[in-house]
Structure formats: C-alpha cells, structure tokens
Amino acid sequence: MNLHFRLGRALLLESHAAEVLAEARKEFEAELKLNPQDAVAEYEIGQILLTENKPADAGPHLERAVARSPDFPEALISLAKMRADSRKYADAIRMLEHAVELQPLNESAHYNLMLAYRNAGRGDDALREKAAIDKLQRPPQGEFTEFLKKLGEKAPSQ
C-alpha cells in the first residue's frame, strides 16, 4: 500500500542532492494518480516545489492538500506562509490559528502565527505567541543536572 508515497519519502531521506527532489516528486505524483485524494502526497509535492523555489507551482498542491484535509496542520502552515508572503495576513492568520488549535505544541504554527500577527500590526497578539514559543523552546528541566553536579562549586580546570 502507498508504495509510491513510501518510495518518495525514502528518496527524500537518503540524499541531499537536488536531483533527488525531482525523483521523489515523480513518486508522489504517481501516488496521486492512484490515490487522487491523498492530501499528504499533495503536501509533499508542494513542499518539494517550494524547495525548488517554484512557489507558483506549489500553491495549487497545498490548496488541494488543505481542501482535502482541513485539519492537516503542516499543510495549513505551509499554505499560510504563502499567504503571508503575498501579504494576505488575514487569510494566513485564520489558517495558523486553526493549526495552533489542532496542535497547541506545534512550534512552527506558533512561530508563523507570531510573524503573521507582527506583520499585520497586531503587536499584542504577536507577543502572546512569542510567549508560547518561549515556553516551547525552553530546554527540558534537568537537562544539565548531572553535568552541573559534576562541576560542583569548583571552577573548570584546564
């Protein structure tokens, strides 16, 4: 099942070469022919096209991804970023607020919502989102406990 989708994902993971993006895109396109309602494949194609700096081509794929799966946070975020790039901040904010509702711990959703608020001149809302990001970015409690215990009171030595 979903063989082309899995092949596409595997290709993306195996190399950093630009040509691999095109190969992966072909696999996702093949998957779409078999499963035209596959929102994730649409999203992956959109992401690859964005990476290839083809935002105009990416847009329709992301639109379809969101249309087919309105609660797909990554697709909402990606499409919202395109809206924000076009200065359509109200649209972007609507999608990002929905993404935050769906995934309250999604840093990307909060971050892009913060920027959208900022760019729309909604400073207080941007600050609220920043506070959420600060909370999410905080390193885990106790991350350094063992090391600090070892350091104790003494100054590190050369």
């Binding site: 190399s15 950093h16 070469a17 630009a18 964005l50 990476t51 700096n53 935002p55 975020i77 970023k81 790039d85 840093e107 990307s108 909060h110 971050y111 892009n112 913060m114 920027l115 900022r118 760019n119 941007a126 600050l127 920043k130 990001i133 600060d134 970015q137 905080r138 390193p139 991350e143 350094f144 090391f147 600090l148 070892k150 350091l151 100054a155 590190p156 030595s157 050369q158």
Partner: protein, 548 residues
C-alpha cells in the same frame, strides 16, 4: 604543467564562465604553509576540538596592505603574517610578540586606545588575550592591565569591538559557547547528546550547561569594565553562542549585535541608546528558521543583498539544515527568505565562515561560505556529508536572488577542507577581493581570482576623529551610476573572524562616485561628491585626502 593537466582533468576549466571569478588557492605561493592544529583529525573527543578557529585581515603596520592573522588550536601558535606587497607574506609572529598557546577560537580587531594603530583581541577556551599595538611594530599583551583577565575558565568564541554608547571609545563584546571542562565532560557516546547518526561522538553543545555573553565597557584609561549585567547582555543565558556581528540593523544610529547560536535561538540585541540592550531576535524573526526551529548557527554576515538600503543577515548552519538568509523588511524586522532567494538547497554542508562580497564588482553583494563537518567520524558513514568539504559561492543576480556558481568559479572553491574562519580583503589593492580561510589541522587557504572583474571599484579607508579612530560603526551610503549601496565598518563577523576594516564597493560601469554619505558614530554626517574610482580613498572624519 602537471597542475594544469589535473585541473583540466577535473573539468575545472571546462566548467569556467568568463564572467565568473576563477578562484585559486594561492596560500603556498604566498608563504602561508604552516598548519594550524585543532584537535583530532580522525576523531574528536571533546567539543573544544571542533570550534576553532578564526582568521583575520588586519593592517597592523598601517602601510595600506592588509596583513594576515590566524588563530590556532592547542599545539600550535597564532600567527601574524606581514603583507610584503608582492603577493607574499612573511611570518612575523615572534618579533611582534604574538607567539601563543592554548585553544584559540576567535579574533577581532579595533583601535581601542585611539592611538592610530589597530589592536587585536583573541578569544580562547580559557580566557581572552588583548594585544595592544605598539606603534605598529609589535604587540604587548595588556589583558591583565585592561582588566580582561577572566575569573574562571570560559569558552569564549566570537568577539567584536564596537562603540555601543557612541562615546568615541571601542567597547568589546564576547560570545560564550558552553561551560566546558576536560575532566568532567562525558566521553563520546556517554549519553544521548554524544551521538550523531549512530556514531559515538564528542558531547555537546546539548547536554552541556549554557554560559552568558559578555560586554566590556571601555573606560578610556586602558581598562574595561564588565557591564554584561547592567547592559542586559547577560540576560539571554540559554543559547550556545558562536559568531558575532555588530551593526545598526534598525537604522537608529546605534550599534546592535547579532549572535549566531548553535542548536538554540540566535540572538539580536537591540541597542536602546541608554547603555542597555533588549534581546529581540524571536519577535524580529531572526532567531529561527522559517519553521520556528532553532538552527545550529555558526557564522554570520550582513549586507544589503537586495539594494533596498537595509542591512540583511546571512547565517551559516549545520548539515540537514538550510542556510538562513534574513531579509530586513525594516526596521530590523526580518523574514527568512532563504528559499525564495535560491539559497536553501545546500543541506549537506556544515557552514562556518561567510561573507557578502562583490566578486564581480557589479554593485551587488555576492556571498561565499566555507564548510566542514564537526565530526571527522562522519566519513565512516560513507554518505554525502563530509568532514572536509568545499566552499559554496553564490552569485547575486541583482533581483533579490542568488545562483550557486560553486562548480564554475575555480579550483580554490572546490578544494575540500575542514574550514572554519573566513576573512575578506583586497590584500593587493587591485580591486578584487581575496578570501583567507582557516582550515583545521592544515595550512590556511588564500583564495584569489586569476580573473580581474570588469566592473569599477573603490575601497574606503575611514578614520574617526571624534568617533573611534577605527571608524567602527560608521555607515556608508554610496551612490554611483544610479545605484545606492550601503555598508558599515564592522569588527568581528563571519565565523570568529575579522575582515579588513576598509570597505570595498563594486561600481559596475560607473566612472565616478556621485555621492558618498558617511554617518559617523559620533553623529556627524559627512558628504563627499564626485569621487574618482578604482582606487583606495582615505577619509578622515570631516577631512578627506586621496591616495593612488
């Protein structure tokens, strides 16, 4: 002849474009043959082996020819090479009093005592060294006298001289990486922070404690005071800080500070103008990538790549991350435009030193970054990520985007090294910029193009009078041929490195500079008109003389 045959076999000449530079590594011919040790070459047990070291172009003897300073890790010495003016450099480390030992990290330059000679600060894991130039003949270590002896071992990394309070005296900013200690740091593989793709590697920075950055205020009597707490610089204490870049990012005439940070949010200290800073990188869009993820920021540079009159920021990052280009939408609010600018496809490289520079003198800043992984062990994986790797050269298309021309710009770009610091200067004053690169455990690279760019150019050497003598913080608006360019005299930048303090501008076909406006840190605005091109122009605050 053998070399020529090798280059042809490598397809270097076949791929050449006459409009692109032909960068060759001329380090050996220039006399830069000493290797600079920096920990293990097959494996690295501790993080301190991974982060060094910086490179600098500094005209220490005021002869108008940028000299070379390179920082060494443990087992070697920092070295100063005098520019002999004939394409060769002579090692003058001993006679200038700069022989050293220890884990050298970064270097920055500025005339802190305003005596007309450029002084040098070197950062170490372990402390700082402030070298005061004695009439451009030798240097004296004034660290203790200047009150810069630190009270404990610190992992100092990037540094910069800056006049944050515009009092005419250069202060010092020093970034700190982690709290690190050989005796107590866990061994490779000891905990989840000591692994990379199934390889046991040196631990950190995650898992090692944060430290704070430091701001030293110049008291004007040869001493400095630590004002980190009072200025607010020490407040963000949850970032692993490396590259430092001062600049007036919001155009208010005061120097702000950007700090590239590893695996943690990068920092943007906005100067409030009352001796304090407010760290605002997240809200201003310059802390993360476009997804709100902290990158492994290493080096940082600034330039107005899109010609809108605002300084933009580029930051080099780790492998599997995109380089980050932040467009300044003004005032100091940034958008991550890496993808749109055509930059984000080089994700297999770990980037370090970087710089905007106009290699073809067309008036648009291009960009070079140098690379090399932190873990030599990565070679065991047999993947497309390498410990030693080539540089990346982006050509500015003049329309807000770049083209990767790395494969077509000469063999020097394609040489593989574990590169770290990179500094930029026109060391022979011929109008085309050269690049100095500090390579771990190897001799440095000195990239020089064999092809002279077609465009006209000018180099500005500024000297403050009321402002600090190095003119650090002076901001330029240069108009020629219908195009206005901006730049700023900066200390620090790139990765733990120092560019020539003179500013180079490519001018395309413009046969003269119509207008040159200098906003000095003192607040003085100075305008020069109808200046000639293809020369070095010296401008003293409110006084101008011309050479060449």
């Amino acid at each position: 002849m053998k070399r020529l045959a090798a280059l042809v076999a490598a397809g270097v000449f076949a791929a050449q474009d006459p409009h692109l530079p032909d960068f060759q590594n001329v380090a050996a011919q220039a006399g830069l043959t000493e290797a600079f040790p920096n920990g293990g070459t097959e494996s690295k047990k501790f993080i301190v082996e991974t982060t060094g070291s910086g490179a600098a172009f500094i005209d220490y003897n005021n002869d108008g020819l940028p000299d070379i300073f390179l920082v060494s890790g443990s087992g070697g010495t920092n070295r100063l090479y005098r520019n002999d003016g004939n394409g060769r450099f002579t090692d003058v480390t001993k006679e200038t009093g700069l022989a050293s030992s220890g884990w050298g990290q970064g270097v920055c330059a500025g005339d802190f005592d305003n005596d007309g000679f450029t002084d040098v600060l070197v950062t170490y894991w372990g402390g700082l060294k402030l070298y005061r130039s004695v009439a451009g003949r030798r240097f004296e270590d004034v660290t203790r006298r200047a009150h810069l002896k630190q009270d404990r071992v610190r992992y100092n990394t990037g540094c910069a001289f800056l006049d944050y309070d515009n009092d005419g005296k250069l202060d010092i900013f020093v970034a700190n990486y982690v709290k690190f200690d050989f005796a107590t740091t866990p061994a490779p593989g000891a905990n989840p922070y000591c692994w990379y793709r199934d390889l046991a590697v040196n631990c950190g920075p995650r898992g090692l404690p944060f430290d704070r950055n430091i701001l030293y205020h110049n008291n004007g009597d040869g001493t400095f005071s630590d004002v980190s707490e009072a200025s607010g610089v020490s407040k963000p204490d949850q970032s692993y800080c490396l590259g430092v870049l001062p600049g007036d990012f919001n155009g208010d005439g005061r120097t702000d500070i950007y700090v590239a940070c590893d695996q943690t949010p990068s920092l943007l200290y906005i100067n409030r103008g009352d001796g304090t800073f407010s760290e605002e990188a997240v809200l201003r869009g310059a802390a993360f990538d476009e997804n709100g993820k902290a990158m492994s920021g290493m080096g940082v540079t600034s330039g107005d790549y899109d010609g809108d009159g605002r300084p933009d920021i580029f930051r080099s990052n780790f492998s599997d991350e995109r380089e980050t280009l932040y467009r300044n939408r003004g005032p100091a609010e940034f958008d991550d435009v890496s993808l749109a600018a055509g930059m984000a496809h080089n994700t297999r490289f770990v980037g370090w030193g970087c710089g905007f520079f106009d290699f073809d003198n067309d008036g648009c800043k291009d960009l070079l970054l140098v690379n090399g992984h932190v873990f030599p062990e990565v070679e065991r994986l047999k993947i497309d990520i390498h410990y030693k790797d080539r540089a990346i050269l982006y050509h500015n298309n003049g329309k807000g985007s770049f083209t990767d021309v790395s494969e077509r710009a000469g063999a020097g770009i394609l040489e593989r090294h574990a590169a770290r610091g990179a500094a930029f200067a026109d060391y022979d004053n011929d109008g085309s910029l050269e690049v100095l690169i500090n390579n771990q455990n190897e001799a440095p690279s000195l990239l020089k193009s064999t092809r002279q760019p077609e465009g006209n150019w000018v180099i500005l050497k500024l000297e403050g009078a009321t402002s600090n003598r190095s003119a650090i913080g002076a901001r330029i608006h240069l108009t020629a041929g219908g195009r206005t360019q901006i730049d700023e005299v900066r200390s620090g930048g790139s990765y733990l490195s120092q560019n020539d303090l003179r500013l180079h501008f490519g001018l395309g076909g413009a046969a003269k500079i119509d207008r040159l406006e200098i906003a000095w840190p003192s607040g003085t605005r100075q305008t020069e008109r109808e200046l000639e091109v293809n020369r070095v122009i010296r401008i003293r605050e409110a006084v101008q003389t011309s050479s060449h």
